[in-house]
């Protein structure tokens, strides 16, 4: 394994060095993409994440030194760095050379922040893959170019789709081991497309890669000139994340907890799951069905003039009657805007 290519510098070292305030402002406004890598055992999920972390310079010198030592001792890449050891964090995983549970890793580029969940490929740990998939915006389905579409590829694709992941990338990995043959890539994509159609996956982006050799990870590879699509990183940085959609739907907020610090305050605390709310909006409280008006949206800094899906807030209602009477409003019930 050679070191990271010189162009693979996503971390904006220069700006951080020159103008930290400008860097912070830019960083503060980056969007966040959560994704998973999934697929069958040994299709290279952990290696891909190790590669992304390494190329985005998210691995520190002391970690790299430990990695180099571990690679020689228990790695599966001979004298080379075994990137999978970066994510396989449990002793049992490192000893057995498999991924048992999902690991979350973090990295950032100039454009985005990423949380990636590396999920286990073994059938008996599929439940752990589901945990990782549930919070992902995008799934990278890895396929070993030599083996093609396997049962576990189908199983993971189905689960990713079932959990509502809208963006799928079919990454045909280990292209270096099939001489970067377009025919092999096309055959796998065609086979996958038939399967995807059959379970209702409308769209996916297929790309030929090699995690180990670095092809099409951060930039277009000279080994696959027949592939005209984006590199994996370019795609991850630019794929659209649909979160605004949930704001345009009607307001819904499950009440987690009723905040009653004293007799004069009764706030309904929760995370807004859909929609937008402003003081004065009418809401219906479930399950009683009573309606009331939002009086204040309380936060520690100052009251908000509006709050949207994804925000944790405390809402007070204008209806004085709600305050004095027991209305049977319990945590976990819904406040809904009419």
């Amino acid at each position: 394994m050679t070191g990271a290519p010189a162009h693979a510098s996503y971390k904006s070292d220069d700006l951080a060095a020159e103008d930290i305030d400008a860097y912070l402002i830019r960083h503060q406004h980056k969007s966040l993409l959560r994704f998973i890598t999934c697929g069958s055992v040994d299709d290279g999920k952990s290696t891909l994440i190790g590669r992304l972390l390494y190329d985005s310079k998210m691995i520190f010198d002391d970690q790299l030194a430990a990695l180099a030592a571990d690679s020689k001792r228990i790695g599966t890449q001979g004298q080379n760095i075994d990137f999978a050891l970066l994510v396989d964090g449990l002793a049992a995983e490192r000893e057995q050379g498999i991924t048992i549970d999902v690991a979350y890793r973090f990295f950032a580029t100039d454009k985005r922040k990423f949380i990636v969940a590396d999920t286990p490929g073994h059938e008996q740990y599929t439940r752990n893959m589901v945990t990782g998939a549930s919070t992902a915006d995008l799934a990278i389905i890895l396929i070993d170019a030599r083996k093609g579409v396997l049962t576990q590829t189908r199983r993971h694709s189905y689960l990713a789709h079932l959990l509502g992941i809208k963006s799928l990338v079919l990454a045909v990995n280990k292209m270096d081991l099939v001489d970067y043959a377009q025919s092999r890539f096309d055959a796998i994509v065609a086979e996958y497309r038939v399967f995807a159609d059959s379970i209702g996956i409308r769209d996916f982006l297929a790309m030929p890669i090699s995690s180990l050799a670095g092809d099409n990870i951060t930039s277009a590879s000279g080994n696959t000139r027949w592939y005209l699509g984006p590199s994996l990183m370019t795609h991850l940085e630019s794929v659209e994340i649909d979160r605004a959609g949930s704001q345009s739907r009607p307001f819904r907020m499950p009440v987690q907890w009723v905040n009653r610090p004293n007799l004069d305050f009764r706030g309904f605390a929760g995370l807004i799951s859909e929609g937008l709310i402003r003081p004065g909006d009418a809401v219906r409280v479930l399950p009683s069905g009573r309606t009331s008006k939002v009086s204040r949206i309380v936060t520690m800094g100052a009251d908000l003039q509006a709050a949207v899906a994804g925000q944790s807030v405390t809402i007070t209602l204008a209806d004085g009657g709600l305050k004095g009477r027991r209305i049977g409003l319990q945590p976990r019930r819904c406040a809904r805007r009419d």
Binding site: L24, D88, G89, Y104, R105, W257, A269, M300, A306
Partner: protein, 310 residues
């Protein structure tokens, strides 16, 4: 139909999303557990966690006490900050010192890893058992260490406080399952998805008070075993003899804070949060490198966690 219902959509920043997630987690614990507690270690992550708790339950006071599992070997500035934060938050503070460690005079100079085992791991288990806490918030983050990267947000412990990494529950979307078998307890990590950079940026944006040791200042130090240690009080045993240690003033700061004889400092001139962030972005070593505890062997944190360490 509400006329105001269709403004341009609002995009939350990643810090707003992280904040909302942490607050949601804390409220979930409060409504699902009988006797929660917040582990408070006085470090920067604890500072952020405490700040988030105050936001989550505002205008009320967070409905749980703070627990400081004390080793008696923290920096003096940490004890001062702890007492200050307790005062300003209006929360109850429980300080637990393992009586066995007190009796045996366990210290980081003579007892090696026994120091961490007895004061922190055993001390924590004693306190949780003694007070009957069934849920404990901790400020650990997944980006800190590779076994932490594997841990659920709601992480279950057996009656003997053991973590079984091979048998973690499913945890789907933002729906947390807080049901326990009798005797089990939960460690909850509301900062799981925060990175070190997120923590610093949030401290900066929210002006959260932190221990002054995070900022560079001239302090008395010695170099020992590859670490730059601060001589915080007269219990620090200076090595005598030919290569005797004489404390020297250096401009240092700390990236993490723990027991002062075990916590390595950085030479630095960063006196503001943006300058700290700048140094962090340009550094080539990880945050935990300054902690003697993690370097024993590859899986050392996992072993400590299995034994009950946070």
């Amino acid at each position: 139909m509400n006329k105001r219902a269709t403004p341009g959509s609002v995009t939350l920043t990643h810090l707003q999303r992280l904040e909302s997630e942490s607050i949601h987690i804390m409220r979930e614990v409060i409504s699902e557990s009988e006797k929660p507690v917040m582990l408070y270690s006085v470090g920067k992550d604890s500072a952020v966690m405490l700040h988030l708790a105050r936001k989550a339950f505002f205008p009320g006071t967070p409905p749980f006490p703070l627990l400081h599992v004390d080793t008696t070997w923290k920096f003096r500035a940490m004890y001062a900050m702890r007492d200050e934060m307790v005062k300003s938050s209006g929360m109850q503070l429980i300080v637990h010192q393992n009586p066995d460690a007190v009796a045996r005079g366990i210290n980081p100079f003579d007892h090696g890893s026994l120091h961490t085992d007895l004061w922190k791991t055993e001390g924590l288990k004693q306190a949780l058992t003694q007070f009957g806490f069934d849920a404990a918030f901790g400020g650990a983050r997944r980006d800190e260490e590779k076994s932490r990267a594997k841990e659920r947000i709601f992480s279950f412990r057996s009656a003997s406080h053991r973590w079984d990494p091979k048998n973690q529950r499913p945890e789907l979307w933002n729906i947390y399952n807080a049901r326990k078998v009798k005797g089990e307890s939960i460690r909850v990590f509301p900062l799981s998805n925060w990175t070190e950079l997120d923590i610093w940026q949030y401290i900066h944006l929210e002006s959260i008070p932190i221990v002054p040791l995070y900022f560079a200042a001239p302090r008395p130090t010695v170099e020992r075993d590859g670490l730059l240690l601060m001589v915080d009080d007269d219990r620090f045993r200076l090595r005598a003899g030919g290569s005797g240690e004489i404390p020297a003033q250096r401009s240092i700061r700390f990236r993490t804070l723990g027991c002062y004889p075990l916590t390595g400092a950085l030479e630095s001139s960063a006196t503001t949060v943006p300058k700290i962030i700048q140094e962090m972005l340009l550094t080539t070593t990880s945050e935990r490198q300054g902690r003697a505890i993690d370097h024993d062997q590859g899986a050392s944190m996992e072993q400590k966690k299995q034994a009950g360490y946070f």
